[in-house]
């Protein structure tokens, strides 16, 4: 099979590299709709084309072989940056596919049968590289998504100190097991760190309370109690109160309040702080 080795074609590509690169940059720039400048693309694609030529020159026939290691590394970098910049999968894969057309247009392959076979071989290699690019792109996107979910989890569970010995957790968004666990751990740790005896869990921002969410809340409250802290649940909206009753959820002897302000007053009273009304204070 040595007769259609990539030597001839790779030599020709090598010779016309500048022309091919210019065409390639032009094609990719057209598909990127002005989000990347020509100079940026040239800087990105030049090392890739050079690496491909080098890999073809060294007789590499398999894209997962050692000869293409550098090409793969460069393409992985390219697809990761594309994923971060918000390019679509098609646009990312086109970056590689466009090279085929560029090589064809530059006249590196003539119409002779031998050259055609060479070109088809090259085409297969480039297809594999494009698939690889696509896979890396998907991986990068997955990583970004899971990273963002993690950050959201961290962001969405602040524990705030309201008073000496009173902390509050304003919950915003849907509660699931993973989130409840983070909330519980964070709340309990804060109780230890600050020596607080009262905790207020505010569920004003929780869109819906079902049996599972209630179960999670109860677990958090019981865990806090085991540590010696008292929990108050506040921010129960009228509809949610009705849902809780309709579902038959029992909060038992856990104090519940309509607003965070009421809960704070209760917590203050329990911790022995006396409140002076404005009139009395004057």
């Amino acid at each position: 099979m040595a007769e259609f080795g990539s030597e001839h074609l790779s030599e020709t590509i090598d010779l016309r590299q500048a022309d091919i690169l210019a065409r390639w940059v032009e094609a990719v720039a057209a598909s990127s709709r002005g989000r990347i400048t020509h100079s940026e693309l040239t800087a990105e694609l030049t090392p890739i084309l050079e690496a491909i030529v080098a890999a073809l020159g060294s007789g590499g026939r398999r894209t997962d072989g050692a000869g293409f290691a550098e090409v793969r590394a460069l393409l992985a970098e390219l697809s990761r940056s594309r994923a971060r910049q918000g390019f679509s999968p098609t646009e990312t894969a086109t970056s590689v596919f466009a090279l085929k057309q560029s090589i064809l247009d530059s006249g590196a392959s003539s119409t002779s049968t031998e050259r055609l076979v060479e070109y088809l071989n090259l085409s297969r290699l480039l297809d594999e590289l494009a698939l690889f690019t696509f896979e890396t792109y998907a991986e990068a996107r997955d990583r970004i998504i899971s990273q963002q979910a993690e950050e959201m989890l961290e962001l969405s569970t602040p524990v705030v100190k309201l008073w000496q010995g009173i902390v509050a957790v304003p919950l915003v968004g849907t509660l699931d097991s993973a989130r409840t666990q983070v909330v519980t751990e964070k709340l309990l740790q804060t109780l230890v760190d600050t020596g607080s005896e009262h905790a207020i869990i505010d569920i004003t921002g929780v869109p819906a309370v079902d049996t599972q969410v209630a179960q999670h809340l109860l677990k958090t409250v019981v865990a806090a109690r085991l540590m010696g802290a008292d929990c108050i649940i506040s921010g129960i909206r009228p509809q949610i109160a009705q849902t809780i009753v309709a579902l038959g959820i029992e909060f038992g002897d856990i104090a519940t309040k309509a607003t965070l302000a009421d809960a704070l007053v209760l917590a203050l009273r329990k911790s022995g702080v006396t409140r002076l009304d404005a009139a009395e204070a004057q």
Binding site: L191, L226, M227
Partner: protein, 129 residues
């Protein structure tokens, strides 16, 4: 076998568990404690588990049992210093230690016991009048 020391502090017995409890140690503690409550006439038992990192359902039940036994012997039990991870584990095991009082640390626990025991002389005084 390790034994957990029981310290007398006024009318309170202080138990500080500094080791990971084995079942046998826990049972021995339960026996020792009930004997000491009777011997000293203690009104309160304070169990500090701040050094305990691992609990299982047996230890969880033991805490409940100690509290129940103490109550029969007219002493209040307060468990103090439970770690967050331990609290979460107990809840997941379905043990809520009903009837056991809890506090964040020894100081708050002693205050809680003092408040619980203090009310009684007043009641007696009330009856005497």
């Amino acid at each position: 076998m390790d034994r957990v020391p029981i310290l007398k502090l006024g009318r309170t017995l202080l138990v500080s568990i500094q080791i990971d409890l084995q079942d046998a140690t826990a049972l021995a503690l339960q026996e020792d404690l009930s004997e000491r409550i009777v011997a000293t006439g203690a009104r309160g038992v304070l169990i500090d588990i701040s050094a305990v990192e691992i609990v299982d359902s047996f230890i969880g039940r033991m805490l409940s049992t100690i509290a129940a036994v103490s109550r029969v012997l007219d002493a209040e039990t307060v468990v103090v210093g439970m770690r967050p991870a331990v609290a979460i584990t107990l809840v997941e095991l379905g043990l809520s230690l009903g009837g056991v009082r809890t506090a964040l640390d020894v100081e708050k626990g002693l205050k809680l016991l003092a408040a619980a025991v203090e009310t009684e002389p007043d009641e007696l005084a009330g009856e005497a009048d």
